[in-house]
């Protein structure tokens, strides 16, 4: 049996049903542990004070905001190449989740920005590219909503996702070209841990895992909903013709 079998809607519904509670359970566990640990059992930063703790929401959200788009890109490619309905629906399901993650990152960043930089918003390259990502999500979702026929919508949004990805990368370079900015550099690379010391690092990883599980769970849940909607439509169509 090939791995694609799992992408059959019926199979998908079957295997996700038992998996879903596990994923959500894991997400809840990780988030509770990570956030409680992070908020109550880590010292305040010597420079930033307790505001540093917003990192436990900010960084995981930012991380999965980007990864959601990458997942959508992969799912779109699978749809275009192999035409598995579930992958198109998974891409559709991931978009609002990614949008929410983007919003969380933007909001927590804005809240964090006030004490750190003295402003809620600055046109820093990283912030700007996140705003652009937000716009891509909006457009992608709007296109899904606007098209009646589900297969057409899947095709068109896939094309948009692929072309959009190229331009998202171009935009990232463009805003870098533009100025240097205030925002920290990447501090989550595994080899160097300059900005984030060990005490913050461990709960942060747990939070990231929690967000990851939450993301997977939400996408699976939403995909299941989308499949149900499609099934309903198919049944309705059949009933109408009867």
């Amino acid at each position: 049996m090939s791995i694609w079998e799992y992408a059959n809607p019926k199979k998908f519904m079957a295997w996700t049903a038992p998996v879903l509670p596990v994923v959500f359970g894991g997400a809840a566990l990780c988030l509770i542990v990570g956030l409680v640990w992070g908020f109550f059992f880590t010292p305040d930063d010597y420079r930033q004070g307790s505001t540093v703790k917003i990192i436990y929401l900010h960084v995981p959200a930012a991380f999965f905001a980007i990864n959601a788009w990458i997942m959508m890109l992969v799912a779109s490619l699978i749809w275009v190449i192999r035409r598995h309905h579930v992958s198109a629906l998974a891409a559709r399901a991931a978009a609002p989740v990614g949008l929410t993650m983007t919003l969380i990152a933007l909001f927590t960043g804005a809240i964090w920005g006030q004490p750190m930089w003295g402003t809620y918003w600055a046109w820093d390259p990283r912030l700007t590219s996140f705003l652009i990502l937000f716009l891509f999500y909006l457009g992608y979702i709007a296109l899904w909503e606007a098209i009646e026929d589900p297969d057409t919508a899947a095709d068109l949004t896939s094309v948009l996702c692929m072309v959009g990805s190229i331009f998202a990368i171009l935009s990232r370079y463009a805003v870098n070209f533009w100025n240097q900015g205030l925002h920290q550099g990447a501090s989550l690379s595994l080899d160097k841990e300059e900005n984030v010391s060990n005490v913050f690092w461990q709960p942060l990883v747990i939070c990231i895992v929690g967000f990851g599980l939450l993301f997977i769970g939400l996408v699976l849940l939403r995909t299941r909903t989308e499949i149900r909607v499609r099934r309903m439509r198919a049944l309705e169509a059949r009933a109408r013709r009867a």
Binding site: P9, D149, D151, R231, L235, A237
Partner: protein, 204 residues
């Protein structure tokens, strides 16, 4: 020249006609009959390659088909001649001089297409078929809005110019065109509503 084997065609993801088989030889036309909503437009679009067939096989000579839909594709800001010339260029042909007579457009040649009456516009739309130089025509209710005289004009052109030169035509129409061609009643091919085969079948 045109063979259709066991074709199923769908509209909006729902199959409407299935198991269609026919063959049209050169110098022949086929008239599609059936009540409104049976799927004539859907079938013609499928034959013309605008949408994929859910099942079955359609064969006709490569690059020899042209399609005329309910809509005419006429640019109201261009003159009648400019409209025809555009299509002639797209298909890489000259405009045959006889076309103006054949579709009674001689008087209208330099009129802006937007000022034509419904039937005159339709004649222009049909004249396009005379410039594309294609052997296989798929025509969707070509005579809508035409008066009796124009219908005969069109039937004559189809019979004596297009078909006589070895062409083929599949025509959906509700009226009697007055050309002698076999008719295919589509009602028996309607997809029974409880049958499988929808594009969304995978979800059921």
């Amino acid at each position: 020249m045109l063979t259709v084997q066991d074709v199923t065609c769908a509209r909006g993801g729902i199959p409407v006609l299935s198991g269609i088989n026919f063959e049209v030889a050169a110098v022949q036309a086929l008239i599609l009959r059936g009540p409104n909503g049976i799927g004539k437009t859907t079938l013609l679009r499928t034959l013309a390659g605008l949408q994929p067939a859910l099942a079955g096989k359609i064969t006709h000579p490569e690059d020899e088909a042209a399609y005329a839909s309910h809509a005419d594709g006429i640019k109201t800001a261009l003159t009648v001649e400019e409209n025809l010339k555009f299509w002639a260029e797209v298909y890489g042909n000259p405009i045959p001089e006889s076309i103006w007579q054949a579709f009674d457009l001689a008087d209208l040649q330099h009129r802006i297409a937007g000022t034509l009456s419904a039937g005159q516009k339709r004649r222009l739309g049909l004249a396009r078929l005379g410039v594309v130089g294609r052997k296989v025509l798929f025509l969707d209710e070509p005579t809508v809005s035409l008066d009796g005289f124009s219908v005969r004009l069109f039937a004559d052109w189809l019979q004596n110019t297009h078909l006589a030169a070895g062409g083929v035509a599949v025509i959906a129409t509700h009226i009697d065109l007055g050309i002698d061609a076999p008719e295919l009643e589509l009602t028996p091919f309607r997809v029974a509503s409880d049958k499988d085969g929808a594009a969304d079948e995978a979800f059921l």
